[in-house]
């Protein structure tokens, strides 16, 4: 659906030149929710703004729905942009227009008839749950309500792609949650492809199918959220996940506990329905190894349950090895940490 090829964006010239993106490649499939995570200044904002050419790349191609946007005339670009909705961190609503008129805005741009506008806007108001606020001005709404107007407006022209530029960063946790739910809902309902950028891992964890980690103008790691989240490879990725699953401290402490018999600390990762099975207890009963759970998380990544336990196994060294092998046989991921 979206293909970014060798995207480079420089600002300024000569010695004042800074590079925001350097030869970045990215592809997003139709109907998926794709997250881009990065620290501020990593280039994620430039990246998402290049997708609808609000920012024109210095070089490279931007393909959306089979069209190279960088090759288009102003007029055809304007037409293609109608197939790409966008929502913003600061909502960017017209302060002089009511909720109704804000949502009708993209339809009026293409001279839609009054009755069609009314029907469409009322549908959208119902979708985002703002029927009663139709005549209010943005200044009278809460942040969450403003973002709902932003979403309704972005959907008015029935786009194929929705770009979310830090759409929940200005919102409190509960409101963030309800907006993410709404995004998930419209993604399923309209098979809408969503690209979102954020600096918050929990946003990715909650609704994204795939994720790319951006650092210093390039993608350093990408893949299914479950893979990237549970087995981060790049230090920047680990950095983002540390907040969610921090175990370095605990492991260090666990290592210091002297145990009379031999022990090993392992990270055991469950994914999918296995998360809820009694695999661990069955195996230790057979191998006669004891264990202590040092740290653990059981949660979900989008719809996929996962568990990650830091476990210290105690017992006969051979039995510990057998335990580890059995766990792997059962389809769990095991990493020996110490």
């Amino acid at each position: 659906m979206i293909e970014l090829k060798q995207l480079t964006k420089n600002y300024g010239k000569g010695t004042h030149m800074t590079t925001a993106l350097s030869g970045l490649n990215l592809s997003v499939e139709k109907g998926e929710i794709f997250g881009v995570i990065g620290h501020s200044g990593a280039g994620k904002s430039t990246l998402i703004r290049c997708i609808n050419l609000l920012e024109r790349p210095t070089s490279g191609e931007v393909w959306v729905g089979g069209v190279d946007l960088t090759s288009l005339s102003t007029k055809s670009l304007q037409a293609e942009r109608r197939k790409i909705g966008m929502i913003f961190q600061h909502f960017n609503l017209l302060s002089s227009a009511t909720v109704y008129d804000n949502i009708a805005f993209p339809l009026r741009l293409i001279h839609t008839s009054k009755s069609d506008i009314e029907q469409k806007v009322n549908e959208l108001l119902a979708l985002v749950g703002l029927e009663e606020h139709s005549d209010k001005y943005p200044a009278q709404l809460s942040g969450g309500q403003k973002q709902r107007v932003g979403i309704a407006r972005a959907l008015a022209s029935e786009p194929e792609v929705l770009l979310c530029d830090e759409a929940t960063s200005a919102l409190d946790p509960q409101t963030t949650d309800s907006i993410l739910k709404l995004l998930l809902d419209i993604n399923k309902r309209f098979e809408l492809t969503i690209v979102l950028i954020t600096h918050e891992m929990h946003v990715i964890q909650r609704i994204c199918d795939r994720v790319a980690v951006i650092h210093a103008g390039g993608i350093v790691e990408h893949g299914a959220v479950t893979d990237v989240f549970l087995k981060p490879k790049h230090p920047v990725t680990r950095d983002f996940i540390r907040g969610e699953l921090d175990n370095s401290e605990i492991i260090r402490e666990a290592m210091n506990v002297s145990s009379p018999i031999s022990s090993r600390v392992m990270k055991v990762t469950f994914l999918g329905s296995k998360t809820y099975e009694s695999i661990l207890s069955k195996i230790v009963r057979e191998t006669g190894v004891d264990f202590a759970i040092l740290q653990g998380t059981i949660s979900t990544i989008k719809d996929t349950p996962y568990g990650q336990l830091i476990v210290r196994f105690e017992g006969n060294p051979d039995d510990i090895v057998i335990t580890k092998d059995r766990l792997i046989q059962q389809g769990l991921e095991v990493e020996v940490m110490g």
Binding site: N52, L54, L77, Q78, A79, E80, R81, R82, I84, G85, M86, F88, H90, N92, L93, L94, S95, S96, A97, F105, P106, R108, L109, I110, Y137, P138, A139, R153, S157
Partner: protein, 222 residues
Amino acid sequence: MGGLDFSLIDWKEIATAILDTLKMLGASAIFTFILGLPLGIILYLASRSSSRRVNSVYVVLSFVVNILRSVPFIILIVAMIPITREIVGVSFGVLGTIPPLVVGAAPFFARLVETSLSEVDRGVIEAAEGMGASTQQIILRVLLPEARPGLFAAMTITIITLVSYTAMSGQVGGGGLGDLAIRYGYFRYEKEVMIIAVVLIVILVQFLQMAGDRLVRHFTRK
């Protein structure tokens, strides 16, 4: 202040002066807005363009606007006499004051328009661009409505500036309250007429300011 005698005042003359002031004000304001608004929009757009050529247009336009704004109005009236004659046929009377009034006020108004437009949230313009709006649509559907309170404030300031300009137009026999005040008060030492003319001008300015503030408040949504 002994010796003030209001009984000898020719009220008919004052009524004519009021009417003349309103005529000059109305006509010059309309033309100032008609010329100044597009000029302000062009200044705004040209200043933000990424094209070098358009930027140089801005530099030239901006220079011309600054020159016109720095010429004292009284000199502008005199300097413009031949041009005024070309445009309206006469260089005196109510009609003869309108071209210099417009040329004096339109660049001023254009600058105020440019400032109001540049206060419109960049993000909103970008959102409209992202929705496929053309430049014309952005001007008509985003910039002007969003800047509306600022534009009304600019109009108020401009029209009040025009009031003080019309007072100087007596130099070309323009008539009006300012002319009356100078003719009677300065040349004939008839303070009474001058006082009444000044009071009327103050009332007019107060009224215009209040009406303008009201419009601004009505359209402010923030």
